[in-house]
């Protein structure tokens, strides 16, 4: 998946902090991420970009919009 934008569905401060942290972890528009697996009864997605493997819950994964 190539990320188009990183955006939270709500404007709550905690959601904004979440988006900020996704950027700090190196995610940004234009970057290609590979979905490795869905674990924990389908609620956690493991993605890979560069040398980084990241586990995201549903709320966090929903912030990544791409094609």
């Amino acid at each position: 998946m190539i990320i188009d934008k990183i955006e939270s569905l709500t404007n709550e401060p905690s959601a904004q902090e979440m988006v900020q942290r996704l950027y700090e972890l190196g995610l940004r528009p234009g970057i290609q991420v590979k979905i490795i697996t869905r674990i924990s009864f389908g609620t956690v997605t493991v993605i890979e970009y560069g040398h980084t493997r990241l586990a995201l819950n549903e709320q966090e994964m929903a912030c990544l919009h791409g094609h």
């Binding site: 942290r21 609620t43 586990a55 966090e60």
Partner: protein, 629 residues
């Protein structure tokens, strides 16, 4: 003397460098968020002497992704750097630690720290991994791009250390305004693009397709992160760890037991009078009561150490995020809760890595239910009493059941708290899964040894005081001159017996006498002291033939005045249940207060868990007794 702070993203190798610089043996693991408190140490003497007596203080800090803290551990780093008025060691310069395999992210933090006004030296770690892949790293180019000194550092061999100290020795400029730069998302985005370009230019990959570490991680994750198989492997690994604590340690424990029995007997025979009696059957027996469990403690720390070093633990956190969420926790709680199996104190501190306040409070509250190493001697003694040495596998299975029992109680408590405590509905996971690494067994072995030693020396002074108090209490007052008294008569009129009779009604419902009650009270100083207290109270009080026998034998022969046995299946199970639930460790209560910032949750937990533990133990003892057990 200058003071340097080691700052970097989680799992970038800060603590490894700190250990090299200071000679400390701070724990290094392979998952993000292991360091939650700052540590300070002076530059190692050998390094200082090698560089013309150069003196410096090094501060290791918890990992941060940026200078915008979002969790308690990140706030520790932020305050270390920017609360200059209140922080004890004003920082003169920052050593930014960046993982060479993650430069496209970690350079951003270096740039942010440079903007803060501090003199900065960039240390690029994981050079061994880059070299293994045949990648070529252009230090000079990076230096030019960042306009700061850059050092390559190899955490395995310590290469780069001399270069780093030479740079630290350079005269430091006077600090102007030190301030954390605030970056919005747009700026962050720009900096990430810049870091990606810089990383691509300074790191020339020999073969873009070849990366053995990534390939190995991908292969292992197919198994360990398999939606079904991954969960099965996790439960099998945990059961193996908990059960092996018992059956792997058993032969060594038998040898230690034999050795202490011989020493105790020899001392009692060779040193006459009361002093020999105190040393042999009192002090030596009490120390032996604890030393015998060192092999179990060692195996526990070794097992956890191996899991931590491989990078597996972070994956388990992700794997069980959903089940933990149902209990009001999340994947980030897993490592702190698992650490609770070693000791609750660092485990409660490790919850600082959890972003959600609600989840943090719940995790802190349930950690004391996990079977910490101090409970092991009690479990070992009681399981040994139930099964003897004949069936180590059955005993190991019961040990695992007790561990899972603690988890179950913690789970129930967590669910109840999640319904009471107000806060966010869903916790943050966002967990980096590090590349798998081969554990460095020498370091894990040394760390396990050091933990076992700490365990021994923590209990040592308490045991000594207890031995003195109990020896005095059971031997005094002495009979009037010219009056002959049997040991039983002497014990009957002793101070200890007088106090014991006063407190006995509290312990009677548990089916035990004042001597076991004394052990239960002593356990509030440190749980493991229960075993030594029993060794003291049953050996000192016993007849001569009992004194040289093991504690379990003394327990089997202990009776009430009417001749009925004190230790039965019912009472032993009752004691196990009490220890599984009760919060006895006063140091843990202190840490709970400190981390929660209030006495209320700490004291509530102390009172409620002890009342519940006592009540449940009484019910179980009486039910089992009614079945004739």
């Amino acid at each position: 003397m200058s003071t340097w702070a080691l700052v970097g993203s989680p799992n970038s190798g800060k603590t490894t460098l700190y250990n090299w610089l200071t000679g400390a043996r701070a724990k290094t693991v392979n998952y993000p968020g292991a360091t939650v408190e700052y540590s300070v140490g002076p530059l190692r003497t050998q390094l200082s002497e090698k560089f013309d007596n150069f003196q410096a203080n090094i501060i290791d800090t918890p990992g941060v992704y940026s200078l915008n803290p979002q969790s308690e551990d990140e706030r520790v780093t932020y305050k270390t750097l920017f609360d200059r008025k209140n922080f004890r060691y004003p920082i003169d310069g920052v050593l930014v630690v960046a993982d060479g395999t993650q430069l496209n992210r970690h350079l951003v933090l270096a740039e942010q720290l440079k903007e803060s006004g501090y003199p900065v030296i960039l240390i690029v770690t994981m050079m061994d991994l880059l070299e293994k892949e045949g990648d070529v790293f252009n230090t000079e180019l990076l230096k030019t791009k960042l306009n700061i000194p850059v050092v390559q550092f190899d955490g395995v061999l310590g290469r780069g250390l001399d270069h780093l100290i030479l740079l630290m020795k350079q005269p430091l400029k006077a600090l102007d305004t030190i301030q954390a730069p605030v970056w919005n998302i747009e700026k962050q985005k720009d900096m990430l693009e810049w870091a990606q370009q810089a990383s691509d230019q300074v790191l020339v990959k020999k073969n873009k397709e070849h990366n053995s570490a990534l390939k190995l991680t991908a292969k292992l994750d197919q198994v360990f992160l398999h939606p079904v198989l991954g969960l099965i492997i996790f439960f099998l690994l945990m059961t193996l760890l908990f059960a092996s604590i018992y059956w792997m340690a058993q032969p060594i424990m038998d040898a230690v037991d034999g050795l202490f029995s011989v020493v105790s007997k020899e001392i009692t025979n060779r040193i006459p009078n009361l002093f020999g009696d105190f040393l042999g059957t009192g002090l030596i027996a009490a120390i032996g009561g604890i030393v015998i469990f060192i092999p179990q403690i060692f195996i526990l720390f070794l097992g956890i150490g191996i899991l931590e070093a491989t990078g597996y633990l972070a994956r388990v956190g992700a794997l069980i995020d959903r089940p933990l969420s149902a209990l009001g926790l999340g994947g980030r709680s897993f490592v702190p809760v698992l650490s609770g199996f070693a000791c609750a104190i660092p485990a409660i501190m490790a919850t600082r890595n959890i972003t959600s306040k609600k989840e943090r409070l719940i995790a802190q509250s349930i950690i004391p239910f996990m079977t910490c190493s101090a409970r092991l001697p009690v479990y070992g003694l009681m399981i040994g009493f139930l099964f003897g040495d004949e069936n180590p596998f059955k005993a190991g299975f019961i040990m695992a059941v007790l561990y899972f029992g603690g988890i179950l109680v913690g789970g129930i408590a967590s669910k109840i708290l999640s319904m009471i405590v107000k806060g966010e509905k869903q916790s943050r996971l966002m967990m980096e899964l590090p590349l798998y690494r081969r554990p460095r067994f020498r370091i894990i072995f040394l760390q396990a040894f050091s933990k076992a030693k700490t365990f021994m020396f923590r209990a040592g002074p308490i045991i000594l005081v207890l031995a003195l108090v109990l020896w005095f209490g059971t031997n005094y007052p002495r009979p009037p001159a010219g009056t002959e008294m049997s040991p039983a008569q002497l014990a009957e009129q002793s101070y200890a017996a007088q106090v014991g009779r006063a407190i006995e009604p509290v312990f009677k419902p548990l089916g035990v006498d004042w001597r076991v009650g004394f052990g239960l009270i002593s356990a509030f100083a440190a749980r493991e002291v229960f075993v030594s207290a029993l060794a003291l109270v049953f050996n000192i009080e016993g007849e001569n033939e009992v004194q040289t026998k093991g504690l379990q034998t003394a327990m089997r022969e202990a009776t009430f005045p009417d001749g009925t046995k004190i230790f039965t299946v019912a009472t032993v199970v009752g004691i196990l249940i009490f220890f599984m639930i009760a919060l006895q460790c006063i140091s843990t209560v202190g840490i709970l207060k400190r981390e929660a910032g209030s006495w209320t949750p700490a004291l509530l937990q102390l009172i409620l868990s002890n009342i519940f533990a006592y009540g449940l133990a009484v019910v179980v003892v009486n039910v089992l007794k009614s079945f004739g057990l």
